[in-house]
Symmetry: C2
Subunit: 106 residues, 2 copies
DNA sequence: TCCATATTTCTAGAATTATCAAAATATATG
DNA sequence: CATATATTTTGATAATTCTAGAAATATGGA
């Protein structure tokens, strides 16, 4: 992962509404949630939420699936795995003093 | 970890100079680096670097150790482990579809 | 077609963050 | 003490990000 990609990802998670949205979508699983349901869940005006959803999309932390007039948002499983990998391997150098018990040594 | 703490941590990593500094300090190991050496390493004016180091300190991603007139900065190993734990467990719910092979199931 | 629903885009202003020269602080050395 | 070194703080400006109402777009149903 490119360093600028990583900055975009961390930036996407560095805002309360977006972190709330992300956690809600993780809980929701692969089917995700409608934008409107998310707006209620995180108590945020639709236009503001839309701005934040776009940030999360650009960071490839979530994906969107249009169904009729609704849009379902769900976690982008592959994108999140890439981010975690970048953090543990590229940023933390796979050093177990930093990663704790999480990194499987190759 | 409190959600606002986590936001501070992601925010600290969402800026190029700071991510560069963090990676340099991971590479440097527990002894860390002098502020001046870091400034050269990431090509950044002293006062700007000082601003960014303070952000990383507040996020508890690095620590400072004054030795004479020099200040040695090093990774805060415990702080980083807490951050990784928050990301994998609280944010990603320990879901292996998100964490990949990294989370050890309890 | 007309109306309601779901969501985004636009826009302007508010708030936050980043930059860096200059001044200040602290320490070492001759 | 005087000077050089290492770093931070201040302060002013520039740049970016966030907010949310209003308008626009798209779809579904009566």
């Amino acid at each position: 992962m490119e360093i600028n990609t990583a900055i975009g990802v961390f930036s996407a998670l560095s805002q309360e509404t977006r972190l709330d949205v992300f956690q809600a979508l993780v809980k929701a699983g692969p089917d995700g949630m409608m934008a409107g349901a998310l707006a209620k869940s995180v108590d945020c005006p639709a236009s503001t939420l839309s701005f934040h959803l776009k940030e999360l999309l650009q960071a490839q932390l979530i994906r969107a699936d249009k169904q009729g007039r609704a849009i379902y948002y769900a976690v982008d499983y592959g994108g999140v795995r890439e981010m975690i990998d970048f953090l543990l391997i590229s940023c933390c150098d796979g050093d177990p003093r930093l990663t704790g018990p999480y990194v499987i040594k190759g």
